[in-house]
């Protein structure tokens, strides 16, 4: 079992800084998900942890050891690749046995280990097959088994579920979660899929342009994003952003656009260009002091909830998520408001969060 610590980790490819001096501490046994759009540096970070890439500068600690210069094999890691990286020329058995053979485990022991592990992930009946003949889910399990068999203290996973279809992916999420619960090893999981991050992670590390934007538990990251990027990255449909101006008021602040004036009681803060963020589920119909008229321009029923596109006079429509019970039709004119405690504000120029 091992914790992981990254110190000022940097990787430069030519002119681009793929990973730009990140610090991160992952306690032992945690399920951490590195998430971000493609090119954000998450895979590079993972590869550096694995030892597949040498950092340009900075250090990596696993447990109490600085492993920056260690060979990947010396780090006692398990890794599952996006392509699964099963050896196409070996049978399933040989694939799972391979890491043990590398460690020169005795053949009888290998056989029993392989059997145990393959039963754990339910691939015991596939041992004689070759990878190419397996279905996506089976190949996935074999890749897992192959990683499990050496009982690594750290599991690294590079988008392992991305090649599966939607239903299987959801199933495998649960299974991985269960596996983590059973093993209590450290999991570092890379994905660009926010749903995977939300559902599986103990903590989420959001990366963008080689830097860590935010580290936190899923609901923290969702509900309390530190900047506009993080706010926009999570949530389907995405958070509504409205550009306007912040003006100080005696009792708080006021956010003003051409068509909206939102009073934000109890919030201090400066003035100047700002962006107001509100998630669709926090937009609701209400008639009252702080409400604004809008026309329903589009309706997207999701089944459990309904998405409405509201034209209120701003440059783009506002998306609202409402209960299915709500009776609306395209062309209806309704008044709406925001849940004031859920509204977030970002600096108009830096995108940083202002006045929490």
């Amino acid at each position: 079992m091992a914790s992981i610590r990254l110190e000022r980790l940097t990787k430069v490819f030519g002119a681009t800084r793929a990973v730009d001096g990140i610090d991160l501490a992952i306690p032992d046994g945690e399920f951490v998900v590195l998430v971000g759009p493609s090119g954000c540096g998450k895979t590079t970070t993972l590869n550096m942890i694995a030892g597949l890439e040498t950092p340009t500068s900075g250090d990596i600690w696993i447990g109490d050891a600085c492993v920056t210069d260690w060979e990947p094999g010396e780090r006692n890691l398990g890794m599952v690749f996006q392509s699964l990286a099963l050896f196409p020329h070996m049978t399933v058995f040989d694939n799972i046995a391979f890491p043990l053979r590398i460690k020169r485990v005795a053949p009888e022991e290998i056989a029993s280990w392989v059997r145990t592990v393959s039963d754990t992930v339910h691939v015991g009946h596939l041992l004689d097959k070759r990878p190419a003949t397996l279905s996506g889910g089976e190949a996935q399990r074999v890749a897992l088994a192959r990683t499990l068999v050496v009982q690594p203290s750290v599991f690294l996973m590079d988008e392992p579920l991305s090649s599966l279809d939607a239903k299987l992916r959801v199933e495998m999420r649960t299974e991985l979660k269960r596996l983590h619960a059973a093993l209590r090893s450290t999991f570092v999981y890379v994905t660009h899929d926010q749903a995977e991050a939300m559902t599986m992670a103990d903590r989420i590390v959001v990366m963008h342009q080689g830097q860590i934007q935010q580290v936190g538990r899923p609901l923290e990251v969702y509900g309390d994003p530190v900047n506009r990027f993080v706010a926009g990255f999570f949530g389907v449909p995405a958070m509504n952003f409205i550009e306007g101006e912040l003006r100080p008021e005696p009792d708080g602040a006021r956010f003003v656009t051409q068509s909206l004036r939102v009073t934000l009681p109890g919030r201090g803060g400066g003035s100047g260009p700002a962006v107001l963020g509100v998630r669709p589920e926090h937009v609701r119909f209400a008639d009252g002091r702080e409400s604004w008229p809008a026309t329903v321009s589009l309706i997207e029923p999701l089944g459990d909830e309904t998405l409405l596109f509201l034209d209120y006079g701003g440059p783009s429509s506002l998306v609202a998520k409402v209960d299915v019970e709500e009776k609306v039709a395209v062309g209806d004119r309704r008044s709406f408001t925001f849940r004031p405690d859920r509204v977030v504000l970002f600096d108009g120029t830096t995108g940083g969060r202002i006045c929490r």
Partner: protein
């Protein structure tokens, strides 16, 4: 015009169209040639004896003579010997160099450029270029003397074994470029993830090479062996230019000997019979080699998408 185009668009036309000229070329150019070869081999015709279409049929006489001709059998054995010496060397050197040049490092482009050069030189040029280097008081011996620290005066072109080494060396020098190229391509095309997976599992470089890379490269190695050995069995230019197939018959390859029998000794039927014997021997070899290749390729098709 549109009619033609529509006709071309029909799948049956479209897919068979390239086959017509190719098969036509083989059928009109190579096949009659082969029949003629067989026909000639069944005569006892020599150029100095009338015309071939009037020559009498003598059955398998020419074949008997061919199989009793020790010089022919030796030339055959020698040719295979040259191939057996040159091809593995080329493969090993090419593979080794390709491994060394595998990752990016400063100077890689320079090395790869240089290593490809020999392949682009006409073998006839290689032949006399070496004949210039290998004279007993030539630069090659000087270089060897410098390295060895004592005078070395090997007569590369006029002693038995050294002349054979010279021919093998010429082939190795020139065609290691091709094996290097094939293996460089092969290594560059290897899938990254299985190798990374093995690294993470703690496999050593050697273990990765042996258990992962080599098996994945097997089909590429197979084609390199096939291409190189089938070319090596044709060696003609180097002995012709370096040693005149001498000294003695040290470098008389089967191609050179057949050239002599056919054109210098005028024994066309004998040459034809020997050609057919050679063809059979080469065909046996290629049959095995191609089977291996076919098996590898088929397996590849089945396992390709992992």
């Amino acid at each position: 015009m549109t009619g033609l185009r529509r006709w071309l668009e029909r799948e049956r036309v479209f897919r068979w169209l390239p086959f017509i000229p190719v098969q036509g070329l083989f059928a009109l150019l190579l096949f009659p040639n082969f029949l003629l070869l067989v026909y000639l081999s069944l005569l006892s015709w020599r150029i100095t004896r009338g015309t071939w279409w009037n020559a009498a049929f003598t059955g398998l006489d020419s074949f008997q003579r061919a199989l009793e001709d020790e010089r022919f059998l030796w030339a055959l054995a020698r040719t295979f010997g040259f191939a057996a010496a040159a091809v593995p060397l080329e493969l090993l050197l090419g593979f080794g160099l390709a491994l060394l040049c595998r990752r990016h490092f400063r100077g890689r482009r320079f090395y790869t450029t240089v290593f490809l050069l020999p392949m682009m030189i006409v073998p006839a040029v290689v032949g006399y270029d070496l004949s210039m280097l290998l004279i007993d008081q030539g630069p090659f011996n000087q270089l060897l003397s410098l390295l060895a620290g004592r005078a070395i005066t090997v007569r590369w072109l006029s002693e038995y074994t050294p002349a054979q080494l010279a021919v093998i060396g010429a082939d190795v020098w020139q065609w290691t470029a091709l094996t290097f190229l094939i293996f460089t391509s092969g290594l560059a095309g290897l899938p990254e993830d299985p190798i990374r997976a093995a690294r993470v599992m703690g496999a050593s470089r050697w273990q990765i090479f042996w258990h992962v890379e080599l098996p994945l490269l097997k089909p590429v190695i197979a084609i390199a062996v096939i291409l190189r050995s089938m070319e090596a069995l044709k060696i003609f230019d180097y002995p012709m230019l370096l040693t005149q197939a001498g000294p003695g018959n040290a470098t008389e390859t089967v191609a050179v000997y057949l050239w002599r029998v056919g054109w210098e000794f005028a024994r066309v039927s004998d040459a034809a019979a020997m050609s057919l014997v050679l063809l059979v021997v080469v065909a046996m070899y290629s049959f095995v080699a191609i089977r291996v290749l076919r098996r590898e390729r088929r397996r590849l098709a089945e396992e390709g998408v992992a």
